[in-house]
């Protein structure tokens, strides 16, 4: 048996208006949300690992989210894509949690979802499209006491060995680790599939568990806005950029105007 838990986040739609609540937390209810596009890549890679396995039935893919009531939509989308089971951790006390507290809840939930132990693979996206800290995978690895191999553009497994390719700034690297571990994938890892009609129908019958903090034995006083280890003191909308001068290029006039503009700003 190989167990894979994919962490998926429900995020406000990036193309809709995004903003803050009065308490400076991200407005997660006033805007339409969806499964973070960057987590779709993680679901996709998990499904490919399952499909490539000698016996796909022996690989279980569970999609897990921590978030408000509506966040269940993110899990549902993962089930429609082909994940076997879903877990939704929802508890009023979690609202406003920072990454540190979220990782505490996620770590507990990941274990419970896998039957008590750390699953063979915990898969994440490279960053959430709202907070986009890109720190959760490392925090999860630290809390679970397992290695992290992050920002994979190519993922390969053989038995309990994992190899990934990563495009770093100074080098392209191959990184190896032994399961169990935390793995995150980038948007270079391969297009995520769309749910098929069959997938959408099948998803309705798949098991979906809902956990509260009590189910996870996480004390409510360790999470939430009031105990966050960092506080937002203020938020300010950036003044919209006002449009500057736009010229139409005719017979080389564009290049001349462009050069003059750059010179006037002392770039040349």
């Amino acid at each position: 048996m190989t167990s894979i838990v994919v962490c998926v986040k429900y995020v406000p739609d990036a193309t809709a208006h995004r903003g803050f609540e009065a308490d400076n937390t991200v407005d997660r209810l006033g805007v339409d949300g969806l499964l973070s596009e960057l987590d779709e890549y993680a679901v996709e890679q998990a499904l490919r690992l399952k499909e490539k396995a000698e016996d796909p039935e022996s690989v279980s893919v569970t999609a897990l989210t921590v978030g408000p009531e509506k966040a269940v939509d993110a899990v549902r989308k993962a089930l429609q894509m082909g994940a076997d089971a879903g877990v939704h951790v929802s508890d009023e006390a979690i609202a406003g949690s920072d990454a540190i507290a979220t990782s505490l809840v996620l770590a507990a939930a990941v274990k419970k979802a896998a039957g008590g132990d750390v699953p063979d693979l915990v898969m994440c996206g490279m960053a959430s499209t709202d907070g986009s800290m890109g720190v959760l995978p490392a925090m999860l690895a630290e809390r679970l006491g397992v290695p992290q191999v992050t920002l994979a553009s190519v993922v390969e497994t053989q038995g309990d060995q994992v190899r990934i390719k990563r495009d770093g700034d100074t080098a392209t690297e191959v990184i190896g680790g032994t399961m169990p571990l935390v793995l995150s994938v980038t948007d270079q890892s391969g297009e995520a599939r769309y749910p098929s009609f069959k997938g959408i129908m099948a998803a309705k019958k798949k098991p979906m568990a809902t956990y509260s903090l009590a189910d996870l034995d996480v004390p409510a006083d360790q999470v939430g806005l009031s105990v966050a280890w960092s506080v937002v003191e203020g938020t300010e909308a950036r003044p919209p950029r006002s449009q500057g001068e736009i010229v139409k290029d005719e017979d080389g006039s564009g290049a001349t105007a462009l050069t003059e503009f750059m010179a006037s700003k002392k770039f040349i």
Partner: protein
């Protein structure tokens, strides 16, 4: 005055510019101490430049047991150093906002029971803890925040400060970290260094010239203009996905965030994911043949025209002016 730890970002001992920016910020907050993880002799050599930018102490952590592994051993070493400083700990730990920097910071935060703030574009002294400024939601909001628990751990974006020279003692102090077996589990099996372009680093450059799908795959005009301006070359995801340029050139949500003095977008439509990586640039110029391209909403100056004629003519004119 409390120590402020700055993790040194270096390539084979050569200290990168953002580290000097961090030392400049550290000076505002307390007494800068650089932490150099690498070969001991390289650390000794780096101490000179670190001192020149204000480091009073340079902790050198010999990396015999650290090199070749991913972030976990570095986080362990830093956590032990934070503990050694003891008594209220350092006033802050500052780390450059690279993917590796952020992951080290994440593990360090959990290990030391501290709050974490990532991707700060400014850090100023504050009441009880430094006050950070971040740019969120594709650059549409500015947020100020503070760590309220443990040692403030802050990752800072390149260009958040102007590096200022300020003589520090730069006293080298060897620090022996104990690295656990558990931390040595994710190994770098192979690495192929990238060819150097000879141009400035994308995230550090004062000027960036980027090309998109509108280049049709020919980046020569983009590169020529970049070289005339001494700029870095960037790209949209469409150009990267087409295989025209490496992924490391990508600007945007899943690429680099840049905030240069001047950003030139040629043949780029200006999708929200691209804007996320460039809209805090001081001055923005676009060249696009579609006068309705959304990128024009952001520009200080725009040319509606074909980049294949506008860019080479502008490049010639610039080279001529330079004489």
């Amino acid at each position: 005055m409390s120590e402020v730890l700055v993790l040194v970002d270096h390539a084979d001992g050569v200290v990168k510019k953002p580290t000097f920016e961090l030392l400049t910020i550290a000076k505002r907050l307390g007494e800068p101490s650089a932490v150099f993880i690498g070969p001991a002799d390289a650390g000794m050599a780096a101490a000179e430049s670190l001192g020149r930018y204000g480091a009073e102490k340079v902790y050198v952590v010999e990396d015999a047991e650290i090199a070749g592994f991913l972030v976990a051993p570095k986080a362990e070493a830093l956590a032990q150093l934070v503990e050694k400083i003891g008594e209220g700990g350092p006033a802050a730990v500052l780390i450059t906002s690279t993917p590796e920097g952020k992951e080290i910071a994440a593990r360090l935060a959990i290990k030391t029971g501290s709050g974490l703030i990532t991707d700060a574009v400014d850090v100023q002294p504050g009441d009880g803890a430094p006050v950070t400024t971040q740019s969120v939601f594709a650059g549409n909001y500015t947020v100020t925040a503070k760590v309220t628990q443990g040692t403030p751990i802050i990752t800072v974006k390149p260009n958040a400060a102007n590096p200022e020279e300020s003589a520090g003692a730069g006293t080298v102090e060897a620090f022996a970290a104990t690295i656990s077996e558990a931390a040595k589990t994710a190994k770098i099996v192979a690495a192929q260094p990238r060819e150097k372009s000879g141009r400035p680093e994308l995230t550090e450059a004062a000027i960036v010239v980027s090309g998109g799908r509108g280049t049709g795959g020919d980046f020569a005009p983009i590169e020529a203009l970049a070289d005339a301006l001494g700029a870095a070359v960037g790209a949209s995801r469409a150009a990267v996905d087409s295989g025209w340029v490496p992924h490391t050139y990508q600007v945007g949500q899943t690429g680099k965030t840049v905030s240069p003095q001047l950003y030139v977008a040629a043949g780029i439509s200006g999708a929200i994911q691209h804007r996320a990586g460039m809209q805090t640039s001081k001055t923005i110029i676009a060249i696009n043949k579609d006068d309705e391209a959304p990128i024009f909403e952001l520009v200080d100056f725009g040319v509606v025209g074909d980049l294949h004629t506008v860019l080479p003519a502008a490049t010639d004119a610039i080279n001529q002016r330079k004489g």
